[in-house]
Symmetry: C2
Subunit: 212 residues, 2 copies
């Protein structure tokens, strides 16, 4: 039934290709990514890639989707294991910084790189990136609102603004860590959020120093 070895093998190949594509795209860009280059790095032929995706654009779209899945596994899922409220916001930020610091992707962040790459390039790829960014923003704002509802943040807080600030600290982290001093950058990104949440949260025990 579903035990088709061809499909299973195909899926495995597809995922492996897309993981490589995500990493490679952070180095040379999602558009700068060439099929020959990708095929070489995987040890397959270029035409083999066309067996899975009809065009480069189809592969680019699939790569975006794979990057979203990777982001959810690596950053969102760990944060969801922390209790709701400011601790979850902090856990999300920490997971993100950790993702950058661990240099999982050679170019830092797939989304930061590609969104700047495509911000003046209309088309399906840009639309897909824009959707993903919108969902990420909505997710961040929801987490902030949860903290408000729990009484861990003031009720008159401008939630979207705080979400904006949190994301800004993260974006800047990956940008600066690659160009300037990484250690100072991560310290600023972490301390910035901690200061911000502590100034807003009535219960200081929720944001103790040591715990992540």
């Amino acid at each position: 039934m579903t035990s088709d070895g061809r499909i299973a093998r195909g899926d495995r190949t597809r995922t492996a290709v897309l993981d490589t594509a995500v990493a490679l795209a952070t180095e040379v860009g999602l558009d700068g990514l060439s099929l020959a280059q990708l095929a070489d790095r995987l040890g397959v032929s270029k035409s083999g890639l066309f067996a899975h995706w009809r065009s480069k654009e189809a592969l680019q779209l699939a790569t975006v989707d794979r990057a979203v899945a990777q982001w959810e596994e690596r950053i969102v899922a760990p944060a969801l294991r922390a209790p709701r409220g400011v601790r979850r916001l902090r856990a999300l930020h920490e997971a993100r910084i950790e993702f950058y610091a661990a240099r999982v992707l050679p170019g830092g962040c797939f989304f930061a790189n590609t969104e700047f790459e495509y911000n003046a390039r209309p088309g399906p790829v840009r639309d897909r990136l824009s959707e993903a960014f919108g969902r990420w923003t909505a997710f961040l704002e929801r987490l902030v609102q949860e903290a408000v509802d729990l009484g861990e943040l003031p009720t008159d807080l401008d939630g979207p603004l705080l979400a904006y600030e949190i994301d800004a600290l993260g974006i800047s982290a990956v940008m600066r860590s690659r160009m300037l001093d990484p250690d100072a950058t991560y310290r600023h990104a972490r301390q910035g959020l901690l200061n911000r949440l502590r100034a807003l949260c009535p219960d200081p025990t929720l944001l103790a120093e040591g715990q992540s």
Copy 2:
């Protein structure tokens, strides 16, 4: 002596080419920029560009320098006309947001785009971008320190952290304004800095609502 019409004309041509290159680079990237494309947009032949720059890399480096000059004219110079201290910090941030909102460059920000493009591409271009970013950061930190020295910010302030936060608000502004709602983005970027400075500055009259 220096009244060589050939050189003067060459300089004018060079500047015109570089202005176009800066704008084009924000659309397709500094590496994605092709000489034929640039020549076409200028109504010039491709080989005509090689009369001014021996290689594409030389042109890329000159383009970075031109972008720095443009940034200093458009953002730094207006800020320096504001009085030192928190008002100058605010003026700098406002000039930056205004630069993004006016859509001077089709791709938003030359430096944001190129620094993400080159963060995993070693070489002279990346080095030049890194230097420019370092100088910008040092400039921001100097402005913060001036505000501290003037008594407009607390003496125990973490200056580099505040500089980091200010730049983060700006970077996020250009990123989000191209992908999501521009108006909400600019409002967040402006309000974020205003809240931050007001919480730190003992004299509230320096940061009144209306004045820029």
